[in-house]
């Protein structure tokens, strides 16, 4: 399941909902990305995410399908927000459930790596002097995505 929304979400509630009433799941891994006050050496006061409506959903669905084809998942969830977010707020959530923990760990890590380099979102940071800067692509994200062959 994928969701693209401006609203804040709660990681715990989403995990709860995904696994409620199920007794076949042995392992649940979640990743939550949060807005932090410092990035690449400068202070951040808020973050705005632009996205490409339509293509975003398509890309996230493809990434989720790919994860489900590579790992034996019993449930998966991707939530990504857009719009303006305050410090400490969640930006993205990935949850994977499996009978085995390596499967859940690897799939969650993969989802984040591919999402970072494929899903059409762009971050703009505001700093304490009011300047808005587009966040630059990170070499480490490109390298991380390469671990999982296309």
């Amino acid at each position: 399941m994928i969701r693209v929304q401006p609203e804040v979400f709660e990681t715990g509630q989403e995990i709860e909902r995904l696994t409620a009433g199920r007794t076949d799941i042995g392992a649940v891994v979640s990743f939550t990305g949060l807005v932090r006050d410092f990035n690449d050496g400068s202070d951040v006061t808020s973050l705005t995410l632009e996205h490409y409506p339509g293509m975003t959903e398509r890309e996230l669905e493809k990434i989720e399908e790919e994860a489900n084809s590579r790992w034996d998942l019993q449930a998966s969830l991707i939530i990504h927000r857009f719009g303006t977010m305050g410090l400490g707020e969640p930006i993205v959530l990935v949850v994977t459930a499996s009978a085995h923990r390596e499967q859940a760990f690897e799939a969650a890590s993969f989802l984040m790596d591919w999402l970072k380099t494929k899903a059409p979102f762009w971050k703009q940071e505001e700093n304490s002097s009011g300047t808005l800067d587009w966040v630059k692509e990170r070499q480490s994200d490109i390298e991380a995505a390469k671990r999982w062959k296309d």
């Binding site: 293509m55 993205v92 494929k118 979102f121």
Partner: protein, 83 residues
């Protein structure tokens, strides 16, 4: 066809969306880019380094030149930075 710009491409050009008709001059991605660059210095500058411009046709990434037709949706944007 519909042309979309995102992130700094949008702010640099001051355009988020426009409609362009296909023609003998604008028939594929490469000729569309050439035509856009010919429209003025800010266009020329925004598209000067195609290594930092990603292209999607009908919401799918394209990395080679592909033919275009009216009704297509073409998007130009920087490398993605979500997550």
């Amino acid at each position: 066809m519909k042309i979309l710009y995102f992130a700094w491409l949008k702010t640099k050009l001051g355009i988020s969306e426009e409609t362009v008709a296909c023609s003998a001059e604008i028939r594929d991605v490469d000729s569309l880019v050439a035509w856009i660059k010919s429209r003025g210095p800010q266009f020329q500058e925004a598209f000067i380094d195609m290594d930092v411009v990603r292209i999607a046709v009908n919401q799918e990434y394209v990395i080679t030149n592909v033919p275009l037709k009216d009704g297509d949706e073409v998007a130009f944007f920087p490398p993605v930075t979500g997550g």
